[in-house]
Amino acid sequence: MSVVNTTIKPEVRHRGAMSGVLTLGSLDGVFAAADVPGGEPVVLDLRSVEFVEPAGLTGLAVLIEHLSFKTDRIQLSLSGGSIPAYLERMDFFKAFGDRLETNIDLTPLEERSRHNPGTLQELVNFHTEEEIPEIIDRISEILQRQQYLVKERAAICATLSEICANAVEHSSSPFGAYAAVQAYHHVVSGRRGPGEEVLIAIADGGVGIRQTLSRNPDHAEYTATDNEAIRHSLKMGVSSSGELGRGGGLTVVAQIAARSGGSLSLRSGSGRVTTYADRTSSRNVPPFPGTFVRVSLPRLADRPQDGGRRKPARSAKTAGANAG
């Protein structure tokens, strides 16, 4: 009897001049497609991917974790180009190499001396709060090397730590959470432009924001839908425990992102909410098994930087891009 493969193909996006971008939205449809019968081989077709941002990488990690519960036969289909080298550099194969078959030989990548341009936090899997300070130290080092000022580093690291803490504290995720961070020498969100940008992505496979908030009956009127629950979770003091002082982390993160001219996107269950300085948008998306957070923190070249910040480099140098 012949075995039929299920093929899952993320919907890559165009972003300005870039095409083939694997990001948060690329994975909208794939989790439904990943609901395969137990044991059936699955092909993850990434051949159209030309650029992976941290949100795409962490989403991919969660997808593979999700698939691993259903099958031990996952094949990753990659084109040549820079993507395999990028995935290797981001420790993707270190995390998942033993669970995946690939259509290309990874040995040359593994043997090549690793080059970290000092702009990225490799894909990291964590399960407890105790692991977070080390992740933060690493990010702070990256930002310091990129000449971010203490004030800017503080904003970025505080953002990351709050989201990491939420992921391990509330999610009850069977595989913990994944985080990836990259500092780019250009703005990659929205229309690519001059300036710099730090992208932070964290994903877990837990119960999601709506179910977490539902533990507290005080939030009952805000938990009818995932989008309502996500919007409610962004308010100061909203937490599942209801304890005084809790529920401030996400609010602070949203404020930091807005102040930098960036955004905070939260995807949980069937909801997706993105907050900017001047607006918040929501939309219904196919269900996601857990919570996904993407934070964009740009330093726009045409915006005066407060506090005497240095002007971002205008160079087209792409140390943060995927080119291996």
């Binding site: 300070p133 702070s140 505080a158």
Partner: protein, 187 residues
């Protein structure tokens, strides 16, 4: 005059220059609580955060929010916490936590300098605090007179400040009526 207070300085950067998560905050808070309890009554614990690069909201709330909340609940009995920090972004998360908890904390640029308030303090209590700070030490009747209030109203305001840990309150024997409250600045 207000009495010279026993004090200790705790350098928060000894716990790290980047302080994140509630777990770390809990550990630091318990250390601070231990130092506070070791002070004589009326003593001041200066928490010097100037060597810290940043702290996240969770750390700030677990350390300062919870500690000050316990102090306001009377757990440390007339022992006070004062932050040593310049006006900078680091204070934002401490302030956010205190605002949410409706608490306040005194901050000085350096030990011995004039304090500012971080957190939540209504205007009328801020005015009352300023009068006590300027006087260094003041009886309830003098305070009420300066604020143009009756004794009960003046005492209510000062009692709130004392409960928040922003001033020291003691009872003094006074002829002929017996006792009166005296309010003193902490720093």
């Amino acid at each position: 005059m207000a009495e010279e207070r026993a004090h200790r300085v705790y350098d928060l950067s000894s716990a790290g220059r980047m302080l994140v998560t509630r777990n770390v905050g809990r550990r630091v808070r318990e250390e601070l609580a231990g130092v506070l309890e070791s002070l004589p009554r009326g003593g001041v614990l200066y928490v010097d955060t100037r060597g810290v690069e940043f702290m996240d909201y969770s750390f700030a709330d677990e350390t300062f929010g919870v500690l000050i909340s316990r102090a306001a609940g009377g757990e440390f009995q007339d022992r006070y916490v004062v932050l040593v920090e310049r006006e900078r972004d680091l204070l934002e998360n401490v302030e956010a936590s205190l605002l949410q908890r409706k608490l306040a904390l005194l901050r000085v640029n350096d030990v011995g300098e004039s304090p500012q308030v971080v957190g939540s303090l209504p205007e009328h209590l801020l005015n009352t605090l300023q009068v006590i700070q300027q006087a260094h030490s003041i009886t309830n009747s003098e305070l009420a007179a300066r604020l143009d209030l009756n004794h009960t109203a003046g005492n209510n305001r000062a009692a709130k400040l004392a409960r928040l840990g922003l001033i020291h309150r003691r009872v003094e024997t006074a002829a002929p009526s017996g006792r009166q409250y005296v309010y003193e600045k902490i720093v």
